[in-house]
């Protein structure tokens, strides 16, 4: 009979406390793994999402606000820029493509973005990947037609041929319905980017929507800019950000998002602290659970010692038991982690359109369980010492 078998027996003998303690370890482990995975994946994903463009040109504001608004469709647009600004940057020798976008309307909470068909025909949202239609065709710039992102189509139940009336503003208010009626002529394939949450219509559609100011009807919200060479961004940065004071050139997009995460570094430290505390509390629960059971174990230990078990053998069984609880908890923790990641990914996709990989490998999936097992081994030391010191002769008689 091996030590493992003795430990298994003991775990079964104390099934309730084993279950409760394992669950607390599982929750702690899952929390650690999920927090780290979401944090790291969010950072990696959000800094990589650039819709296939290098920069955003918009009204004077923070670069972050521009990027969040134009690329992630999250923030409000700071102000408009004129179509001349778009034409001017398009003429810059370092610019390969500048696609204007106009925002300000929604359909039941999903943003309506006016743009040109270049966005779908001339740009790649990821290397080698263009937006593709799952059904239908691209909109005709001269007509009230729309193509719908896959996620928005699914959530809104829109399909080819369906009609909808936009609502004014980026937040849904059913009192502010526009008169125009748009017909869905295409649904995009999922791209796992914020574009999936958008209803795309011709640029002119947003500019001339009923109720929008006629004097600014040639304005756009921003321009998505693709550079010929990365270094071209530096000269444009000089022109717009350092010398000019009317427009903001947010470049590079990934660095702008990385800056956001860097500013949130304090949150990382708090999360790390909370995670460490959760892990310590969970390990403490093992210590308490085993230590409290030592009284009832004394006779069992004395019997084993009388049968010839070494002190070290007894202490080892306690340590292994402690680690086994952590191992069991970590196993269950993976299941919890999977469930938590599903929820987190669902929430993030609903809020931003960005899709996290639920089962992507991250080193935390290894070091969190190992750390928990290590901490549990430490927690097992105190009861193991108590077991080691158990008086044999004094504990062989039954407990009354």
């Amino acid at each position: 009979m091996t030590l493992a078998r003795i430990v298994a027996k003991s775990l079964r003998q104390h099934a309730l406390s084993t279950a409760v303690t394992s669950l607390s370890i599982a929750l702690a482990c899952a929390l650690l793994m999920t927090v780290w995975s979401v944090k790291e994946q969010a950072r990696a994903t959000f800094t990589q999402v650039d819709a296939g463009f290098d920069a955003v040109l918009g009204a004077r504001s923070s670069k972050l606000q521009l990027v969040l608004n134009a690329v992630f469709h999250l923030e409000a647009s700071p102000a408009n820029i004129s179509s001349n600004d778009v034409a001017e940057i398009q003429r810059q020798p370092g610019v390969a493509l500048a696609v204007p976008i106009a925002m300000g309307d929604n359909f039941r909470g999903f943003r309506i973005v006016g743009t040109t068909t270049n966005l779908f025909t001339d740009s790649e949202f990821a290397p080698g990947r263009r937006h593709r239609l799952a059904s239908g065709r691209l909109f005709d710039p001269g007509r009230q037609e729309a193509i719908v992102g896959s996620f928005a189509a699914r959530r809104l139940g829109l399909k080819y041929g369906d009609k909808f009336q936009p609502f004014h503003g980026i937040n849904f208010d059913e009192r502010h319905e526009h008169e125009e009626q748009y017909v869905v002529v295409g649904v995009l394939e999922p791209s796992n980017t914020p574009a999936d949450r958008v209803l795309w219509i011709p640029l002119e559609g947003v500019q001339h929507m009923s109720g929008h100011a006629e004097e600014t009807s040639s304005d756009v919200s921003a321009a998505l800019v693709k550079l010929r060479l990365p270094m071209a961004g530096q000269s444009l940065d000089q022109i717009y950000n350092k010398k000019g004071d009317r427009l903001t050139f947010a470049w590079p997009i990934g660095a702008t998002m990385a800056d956001l995460f860097n500013r949130l570094a304090w949150l990382d430290r708090i999360l790390a602290l909370v995670a460490a505390l959760v892990a310590i509390v969970a390990a403490g629960s093992i210590l308490t659970s085993i230590y409290n059971s030592m009284n009832e174990r004394r006779r069992q230990i004395a019997i084993m010692r009388a049968l010839g078990a070494r002190r070290t053998t007894i202490a080892c069984t306690i340590l292994i038991e402690s680690m086994a609880i952590a191992l069991l908890g970590s196993g269950i923790g993976y299941l919890f982690h999977g469930a938590m990641m599903q929820v987190a990914a669902w929430v993030i996709q609903h809020q931003t359109g960005v899709v996290l990989e639920v089962f992507a490998f991250h080193p935390v999936l290894v070091w969190a369980p190992l750390g928990m097992i290590g901490l549990s081994a430490l927690a097992g030391i105190v009861p193991a010492i108590k077991a080691y010191q158990t008086d044999v002769a004094g504990n062989l008689a039954p407990l009354n």
Binding site: M1, T2, I6, K9, S10, R12, Q13, R299, Q300, I303, M304, R305, A306, L307, G308, A309, R310, R311, T312, T313, V392, A393, L396, A397, P398
Partner: protein, 227 residues
């Protein structure tokens, strides 16, 4: 050469009043190989302490205990553990079976501390004590008589030279007591193990050729009785 030789053995305990109270003072005691000796004494006269000293569970204050030529009292704790798991078998009044382990597992566990688990030998011994149909029963599923039979098999499973039995019939009714005692003596003889059995029950010891009053060998008992 005797299997067990005890000389000048002394053991005292510190009582709650802080004073040291002698419990064992055995100038001389010996046991031959494969012999069967009963020690009789009333409760509280140090019978269990004497067996614990022989088994190396307790360390004497003075004196020596030689088992098969090895001075038990000079051994390190781990060496005494090894001695118990290989050369000694112990039968307790309260059986001391581990409740989370089946009959078979109780024997295999004892073997794991000694020469290593041998399922065939464990099964054979349980069969010998009449429990071949109870191998996978837990102690709580057995009668007290059956539990003590498991304890007997466990004491013999590592092939010990000496079996120490501490009031093995103390918790059994008369019928079971007679049966268990017979079984202990037979199985010890079959396994060529000497038997040192202590009890307060004269009736239980009636079948032994050698019955020694503890008071004859323990000076503390003599003093206690005479007082």
């Amino acid at each position: 050469m005797p299997l067990l030789e005890v000389a000048g053995l002394k053991k005292s305990f510190v009582a709650p009043d802080g004073l040291s109270h002698p419990v064992i003072d055995v100038p001389e005691f010996s046991l031959e190989k494969e012999s069967q000796v009963a020690l009789r004494g009333e409760s509280g006269l140090g019978k269990t302490t004497f067996l614990h000293l022989i088994a190396g569970i307790l360390k004497p204050d003075a004196g020596s205990i030689h088992l098969g030529g090895v001075n038990v009292s000079n051994l390190s704790e781990s060496a005494r553990d090894r001695l118990r798991s290989t050369r000694l078998g112990y039968i307790f009044q309260t059986f001391n079976l581990l409740p989370a382990f089946t009959c078979l597992e109780n024997l295999l566990l004892a073997m794991s501390f000694g020469p290593g688990a041998n399922r065939d030998r464990a099964q054979a011994l349980l069969g010998r004590v009449g429990l071949s149909g109870r191998l996978h029963h837990y102690p709580r599923q057995l009668s007290t008589g059956q539990q003590q039979r498991v304890a007997v098999a466990r004491a013999l499973v590592n092939g010990p030279e000496l079996v120490l039995a501490d009031e093995p019939t103390g918790n059994l009714d008369h019928t079971n007591a007679v049966e268990v005692l017979r079984l202990i003596r037979e199985t010890c003889a079959e396994n060529k193990a000497a038997l040192l059995l202590v009890s307060h029950d004269r009736e239980a010891l009636a079948g032994f050729e050698t019955v020694i009053e503890l008071s004859q060998i323990n000076q503390v008992s003599v003093q206690g009785v005479s007082a």
